[in-house]
Symmetry: C2
Subunit: 418 residues, 2 copies
C-alpha cells in the first residue's frame, strides 16, 4: 500500500501528511516553466520514457549502466527508463532537423529515472525542465538559454537573493590546461579533477593534478580570479542589455562533470549554498554528430532544471502560494424542488469557464456554505422561486457579504472568473 | 535512431513526417482536459509510472501479468509500468481519505503502458484523462462524472454528431440474470459473455449462455429494448436538467469487461462506429475495500479517456486547430548597433507575458520578416534611432500592414498578447 521506494505520489491540497508531495505545487511549477519557455519562443516536444540502453551508452560509455533504471523487456530488448532527456532530443533533432528552421528552440518537462542505492530522501525519479537550442554556434544562443533559465526561476517568485547562475567555460579551462603544457588527450581527466575540487580533499586533488603536470595553486588562483574570458564577456554583455546581469557571475569552479560539454557551462545555485544545484547546462557542439554517427552536424546547447531542489528552495523562501480548491462559485441548493434549474445554472456557469461546485445530494445549507469557504469560492449563487414570474439567481459575495438577485441570463456576467 | 516499437516521439509543428505525432495537439488535448476537470471542481493528482506488480494482480488476478510491461528491478522487486490508473488512485485514496472532505473528486493525465504482441499501429503506451469520485453512492455522482466526460469532449470542439455516451447498468444485468434463474456465483461469467457479444459469433455466445441457463434471444431482446431502469432514469433526468441529454443513450450492449464494476457503466463512441471506444468507465463500490484489505470502505466511480482514438477522431472531424509558433511579436534587428536596446525590448515584452522571437545573430531584414510570418507573429517591432532624442519603437501590424512609432515605455501596451 505504498509507492515503490524513491517514487512519489502527488496529492491535491490539503496535503494528507506534512511531507506529502503537492500536486498543486507541481502544477504551479510546470505552468511557470511552460509559460516562460513559450514567451521565449521555445516549442514543446516529448519522447518516450523508455529508450534503448545504447542511446545512453553511446554518449556516456558503459559505466553509465550501473546508474540506469534498466532491464530486459519481454522482447529481449535492453531498455532503460530515461535518466536524462538530452540523448532523446538529440535523436529526435538528428533525424528530423531538415523539417525545421534554425535555430531550433525546444523544451520538454520529462520525468527522469535512475536506480541508485537507497538513501533517505534520495529519489529515483524527478521532473525536469529541459530546454535546448540547436543550429546556432554564436554565444548569443548561450545568452538566450541562460536568460530563459533565469526567467524560469523569476516566474516562480525567486529573485537575485534566491539564486545565482555561475558561468564558466570549457574553452577557458582548455586554454588554461594547454597553456601550462597539459597533454590534450588528458583534458577530460583534468576537467574531472576540477569538477571534484569542491568535494575532494586538497591533497587528493593536488596528487591527481600533479600526474597531469598542473599545480593545484595555479588552478585555485584561476578560480579565485575568475576573470571573464572573451566568450563569457559576450554573454555577460548580452545579459546586461536585457537587464539580467544581477543574476549571473563568472565562476570557474563550475566545470560540469559530463564529458560532452564543449563550450560555456553554467549552474544555478542558491547564494547561501544550502541546496544542491537548482539547474545546470552548457554547450555540446559534438553531440548530434556523435548520436547520428557523423551524418548530421549541428551545434547544440541546453540546460535541465529539476523539480525537487526547486520545490525545497521555494518552500524555504516562502514562495509556495496558498492553493485553494480552485473554485470560483458554489451553487447552493437549499430547496430540492429547485435541483433541476440549479443543475442548469451549474452547467451554464461551467460552460462560461467558471470553476463550479455544488452538493451532489440534499445537504444542509450551513454545511454547503462551509464547503464553499473551504474550497475558496468567491461567491455563492442559489436559484430562488418567486410567487409569480421566472426564477431568480441570488448571488452572494463571500468577502463583502453583499447580495443581489439577477435573472438566469445575467448570472454569468454577475459571477466573474478569477 | 528510432524510438522503441510502440513508443511515440511528439514533435512541434511543422511536423517532420506526415504520420508524426504532434506535441502541439497533445498539449491542446491535455489543456482542454485540465481546464474542463477544473471547471467541474476536480483536483489534479499523480502517482508513480512504476508500481509493484501486486497492485494489479490484487484487482485483476494473475492473468493480467501477461499484458503488463513488467520486469524485475535491480532490487529484485517485481514491478510494472502502470497499465491503468485506477489501482494507483485507489491506493492513494485508501491511505489518505481521512484528510479529504467527501466527495473526493480527482483527476490525472497519466501515461499508461502495456506489453502486447507487436501489431502495425498498435501502441505500447498512451495518455489518459482519468477522473474519479470517491465517497458518494448516489447516482448523482454518476451523472456528474458522465457530464464531465461529455464536456471534456465538447471542449475539443466535438459535438453530438461526433460522439455518444452509451449508458448501461451492471445492476440491470444482474436483475436480468437472477430473474431468469441465473446462479449468482456465475454472474461474472455471464457479464463476460455479454461483453463479447458484439465480437463473437452468435453460435459461440448462445452456447456459453446455454451453460448458464440463459437464452441468447432473451439477451438480444433486452439489449434491443434498452429500457431505462430506475438508476439510469435518474442519471438521464440529471443530465437533461443540465441540457446534456443529446449526448447519451441507454444501451445494454455495453457492460464493460473488467470484473470490478458494480453499478452504472458507460462507454463513449463515435456514432458511425468507425473508431474504437473513445472513453469508458463506471462505478466500482468494492474496489477501495479490496485494495485496503477491508480497512477502508468508500464507494467509487470513474472513467478513462485515451489520447490516441481521440486524436484520430478529431483529425477525421477536422477539429485539429492550425498550430503556429505561438509567437505574438517578432523583434526585428536591422541595425546591429541597436542590438543592445533591442534585447532590452525583447526582455520588456517577454516580462509582460508576450511570446517574443528575434534574430540571435545579424540577419537580413527580409529573412527576419519571413521568419516572423512563419512563426505566426501578429506584429513586428523594431528599435529606431532618431537624430535627437530617445529611441523609438516602430510597430507594424502584419495583418493590416499599419505602422506607428511609440516610446519604449508605451511598447508593451501597443503590442497586446493573444
Amino acid at each position: 500500500m505504498q509507492p515503490l521506494p524513491g517514487f512519489r505520489d502527488f496529492f491535491p491540497t490539503p496535503l494528507p501528511l506534512r511531507d506529502a508531495w503537492s500536486a498543486d505545487l507541481r502544477q504551479h511549477i510546470f505552468a511557470a516553466w511552460r509559460a516562460t519557455a513559450r514567451r521565449y519562443g521555445f516549442r514543446e516536444y516529448d519522447g518516450p520514457p523508455l529508450e534503448p540502453v545504447e542511446l545512453y551508452t553511446i554518449k556516456s560509455g558503459d559505466e553509465i549502466v550501473q546508474q540506469l533504471f534498466n532491464f530486459v523487456d519481454k522482447g529481449e530488448r535492453h531498455v532503460s527508463l530515461r535518466p536524462e532527456m538530452t540523448p532523446t532530443v538529440a535523436r529526435m533533432v538528428a533525424t528530423t532537423e531538415r523539417a525545421y528552421k534554425k535555430p531550433i528552440k525546444w523544451f520538454s518537462i520529462p520525468q527522469l529515472f535512475r536506480y541508485e542505492k537507497q538513501q533517505k530522501g534520495r529519489l529515483r525519479e524527478h521532473f525536469q525542465l529541459n530546454a535546448d537550442i540547436f543550429g546556432e554556434s554564436d554565444v548569443a544562443a548561450d545568452a538566450e538559454i541562460i536568460a530563459l533559465l533565469i526567467d524560469s526561476l523569476r516566474a516562480l517568485g525567486l529573485g537575485a537573493d534566491d539564486f545565482v547562475v555561475r558561468l564558466s567555460s570549457r574553452q577557458a579551462w582548455q586554454r588554461f590546461f594547454s597553456g601550462r603544457g597539459g597533454d590534450e588527450s588528458k583534458a577530460a581527466a583534468f576537467y574531472q579533477v576540477v569538477d571534484k575540487l569542491e568535494r575532494e580533499r586538497p591533497e587528493v586533488s593536488a596528487g591527481r593534478l600533479e600526474e597531469l603536470g598542473i599545480r593545484l595553486e595555479d588552478v585555485q588562483a584561476f578560480i579565485q580570479a575568475s576573470l571573464p574570458e572573451p566568450e563569457l564577456k559576450a554573454v555577460l554583455d548580452n545579459l546586461s542589455a536585457r537587464g539580467l546581469e544581477g543574476f549571473v557571475k563568472v565562476d570557474y569552479g563550475v566545470i560540469r562533470g559530463l564529458a560532452y560539454y564543449t563550450g560555456i557551462v553554467f549552474e544555478a545555485f542558491d547564494p547561501k549554498g544550502e541546496f544542491r544545484a537548482i539547474a545546470g547546462g552548457g554547450r555540446y557542439d559534438q553531440l548530434i554528430k556523435l548520436v547520428s554517427s557523423g551524418k548530421v552536424d549541428l551545434p547544440g546547447l541546453g540546460f535541465g532544471m529539476g523539480d525537487v531542489v526547486l520545490a525545497e528552495l521555494m518552500k524555504s523562501r516562502g514562495k509556495v502560494p496558498a492553493f485553494t480548491g480552485g473554485i470560483d462559485v458554489f451553487v447552493v441548493i437549499e430547496d430540492e424542488t429547485l435541483r433541476g434549474p440549479s443543475l442548469k445554472l451549474v452547467q451554464v456557469l461551467r460552460e462560461a469557464g467558471r470553476g463550479v461546485e455544488f452538493p451532489l445530494t440534499a445537504t444542509k445549507a450551513d454545511k454547503q456554505i462551509k464547503r464553499a469557504l473551504e474550497l475558496g469560492a468567491l461567491k455563492t449563487v442559489r436559484m430562488e422561486a418567486s410567487p409569480d414570474g421566472p426564477l431568480g439567481v441570488r448571488i452572494r459575495d463571500l468577502t463583502t457579504r453583499e447580495e443581489r438577485v439577477v435573472s438566469m441570463d445575467a448570472a454569468v456576467a454577475a459571477v466573474p472568473g478569477r
